[in-house]
């Protein structure tokens, strides 16, 4: 087991994703590195197009056609996935590494019952009997808070509400007892009251089962409440990373600071007053991308930003990619 590698479940080193487009190569993810330990939640946060979803798909080897990944190392529990064959990945995926998607209605097959979909991967990976698999499915549906789970097994996805579907997705991801769970915007399609319930459930299960979780979101509120550590992505790079309290308390990268200032927060922002803005737009990631990708929108930009910015590290574990050595 992974305990020998001081409990690092996922170690991503130098991951890049390129997408071939008609205008040239789009560098969706550019040389990012991070680690997630057992029982830890890392949030990847950023706006649309920052590469956060591509990162998760690259780890799971689920990239769409036309997208290719490169990595120095992509270690899952010490095993380098970037050199593993398709057969090995298939054996791990859905078993020891699982994924939850944003829209449970598109991720669940409408033509099969919940029960069929829950037991499929378990029977495949565990060579379990139908009865064993169903027993485990009922157990997990109960765990994610679904009452009369036995009857639910015979229902189809369309018969469930959005919140229930997302619970089913979570139960399905947990069927084989994964070491790593990647959740891509798991609550974005849900109402706020249901969102709070689902996130609580995820956090409780993750702690109880000691899973390493990568949660991808654009919502800083979700990040602040669930993450142990945060990686802020911008234009395909991680521009800042650190423990949650440190990152929110003392954001060092001008983009992180800008993002936090954009959202109205009761008690901090004046009702009806001006919210912070980040002027300009995200740069194109097609072709050569040089220097700091945020410099066109940054109030602190200077000539030196045309070169690749250095990565600074603070003693509290915060790191940021910027010419500024101290907080913006």
């Amino acid at each position: 087991m992974s305990s020998l590698q001081n409990d690092v479940i996922l170690a991503v080193d130098g991951l890049s994703v390129d997408i071939a487009t008609q205008r040239g190569t789009l560098h969706a993810v550019r040389d990012i590195s991070f680690e997630v330990k057992r029982g830890e939640t890392l949030c990847l946060v950023g706006e649309s197009g920052c590469g956060k979803s591509m990162t998760s798909l690259a780890i799971m080897d689920l990239l769409p056609k036309g997208a290719t990944r490169r990595a120095r190392r992509l270690a899952f529990a010490g095993e380098d996935l970037s050199r593993a064959g398709a057969r090995r990945i298939n054996a791990l995926r859905g078993d020891r590494m699982a994924m939850i998607f944003q829209e449970p209605m598109t991720a669940l097959n409408p033509a099969y019952t919940i029960g069929n979909q829950l037991v499929e991967a378990y029977r495949l990976h565990r060579k379990a009997s139908e009865a064993e698999a169903r027993e485990r499915a009922v157990h997990l549906l109960g765990k994610v808070g679904i009452a009369s789970a036995g009857e639910r097994l015979g229902q189809y996805p369309h018969q469930l509400s959005g919140g229930l579907r997302q619970r089913v997705m979570i139960a399905m991801a947990l069927m084989c007892g994964p070491d790593l769970l990647i959740a891509d915007e798991p609550t974005t399609a849900l109402d706020v009251t249901i969102q709070a319930q689902i996130l609580r459930l995820l956090a409780d299960l993750q702690r109880e089962l000691g899973i390493a979780m990568v949660l991808i979101t654009h919502d800083l509120g979700v990040v602040a409440r669930i993450a142990d550590r945060v990686a802020v992505m911008y234009a395909g790079q991680i521009v800042e990373e650190g423990p949650t309290a440190a990152l929110f308390g003392n954001p060092r990268h001008p983009y992180t600071r800008g993002l936090i200032d954009c959202i109205p927060v009761p008690g901090r922002t004046q009702p009806g007053g001006k919210l912070g803005v980040i002027p300009g737009v995200v740069p194109s990631l097609v072709g050569d991308v040089r220097g700091c990708s945020f410099r066109d929108r940054c109030a602190f930009a200077r000539e030196a930003c045309a070169a690749a910015p250095p990565v600074h590290r603070a003693p509290d574990g915060q790191s940021w990619r910027c010419i500024l050595e101290n907080a913006a």
Binding site: E47, S48, G145, I146, A147, S161, G162, G163, L164, D191, V192, T193, I194, Q195, A196, Q197, L199, R200, A203, H218, D219, L220, G221, V222, V223, A224, R225, I226, A227, T244, A245, F248, G249, G258, L259, I260, D261, C262, I263, P264, V265, P266, T269, P271, G272, K274, L275, G276, V277, I278, V281
Partner: protein, 325 residues
């Protein structure tokens, strides 16, 4: 402040097919809502999916006739007023700037279209007005001859706002205007809406599921649940002292970016609101952590008092609200 728009016992139902051989069922999207919109205010309408907030918006715009009840604009029934006269005074901004702009028209002609429909000015005058309006929403003249596909989401929403304002309306009904946008763009659009409101003396109906945004922008808030308004109050009062258990749960569910606060327990249980099968009595009672015996059978009245209005048996006339807690 006087009431600019008054909605009285507004109801809208839809016949929903249950499947090939099952016949139809009536869905009460909006169920007896009475509401004033006062001149100059920003009335926030919050609630979860299926609560009827968009149906209410469409009725306030005159785009959807109510099944029962009436809407008046400064005392005049909007059915008598007519669609065109209504459109001069009440305009919409919708959620999705990708589907609400005609992809085959240039930006200037999209913004000038309402003027064209109402036969205002010559083509050259209309274009000048449109370009001026685009400038007001932060789109310089070089955007005038571009097409929607060349614009970002935030820029498209600016175009939608310009189109709504070109007729110089009094009321703008914004239905989730920033929900499709990234947060850095959302803040720009919210700032713009606030600036325009001051500059043009606008009244907003601001519909959103994002409570932090509503708290920021609204002066008064109506909370909707399964087709009804369950609580109505000034923004500061509603957020500091919510009275309806649903409002409390909704506010508790908001995840503010404050690390260390953890994820709130809503106490709502697993029941979820189904507009096709609304519960008897108070629509919220199956999820309510504070329900009383009568909640399952008796619809609580919508009681107005000095603090606003609330529809809950905990705050009934026979009961001292302080003693109920």
């Amino acid at each position: 402040m006087t009431a600019l728009i008054e909605a009285r016992a507004l109801t809208r139902s839809f016949a929903v097919s249950q499947g090939l051989f099952k016949g139809k069922r009536t869905l009460h999207a909006v169920n007896g809502i009475s509401l004033d919109i006062r001149r100059g205010e920003v009335l926030g309408i919050v609630g979860e999916s299926g609560c009827g907030k968009s149906t209410l918006a469409r009725m306030l715009l005159g785009l959807l006739p109510p099944s029962a009840g009436a809407i008046t604009l400064e005392g005049e029934d909007i059915r008598a007023l007519g669609r065109k006269a209504m459109a001069r005074r009440v305009q919409p901004v919708f959620q999705d700037p990708y589907s609400s702009l005609n992809p085959r028209r240039s930006i200037a002609s999209i913004v000038a279209l309402p003027l064209e429909v109402h036969g205002i000015g010559t083509a050259a005058e209309r274009r000048r007005t449109a370009v001026d309006m685009l400038d007001k929403v932060g789109l310089p003249q070089r955007f005038a001859d571009r097409y929607p596909r060349e614009l970002s989401g935030g820029q498209r929403q600016r175009v939608a706002i310009a189109r709504a304002l070109v007729m110089k309306p009094e009321v703008v009904v914004c239905d989730e205007p920033t929900s499709a946008l990234d947060v850095s763009v959302q803040s720009q659009i919210l700032n713009l809406l606030m600036d325009l409101r001051r500059e043009l003396n606008l009244t907003y109906v601001f519909i959103s599921h994002n409570l932090a945004v509503v708290e920021h922008i609204a002066t008064r808030v109506a909370v909707m649940y399964l087709g009804r308004v369950v609580e109505l109050a000034e923004t500061a009062a509603l957020f500091s002292a919510p009275r309806h258990p649903y409002t409390k749960a909704l506010l508790a569910s908001v995840l503010t970016p404050e690390p260390g606060q953890g994820i709130p327990e809503t106490g709502l249980g697993l029941a979820f609101p189904d507009p096709l099968h609304p519960p008897s009595g108070c629509p919220f009672h199956p999820r309510c952590p504070e329900r009383l015996p009568q909640c399952a059978s008796v619809v609580p009245p919508f009681l107005r008092d000095g603090r606003g209005a609330v529809s809950c048996h905990l705050h009934g006339p026979a009961m001292d609200p302080a003693a109920a807690h």
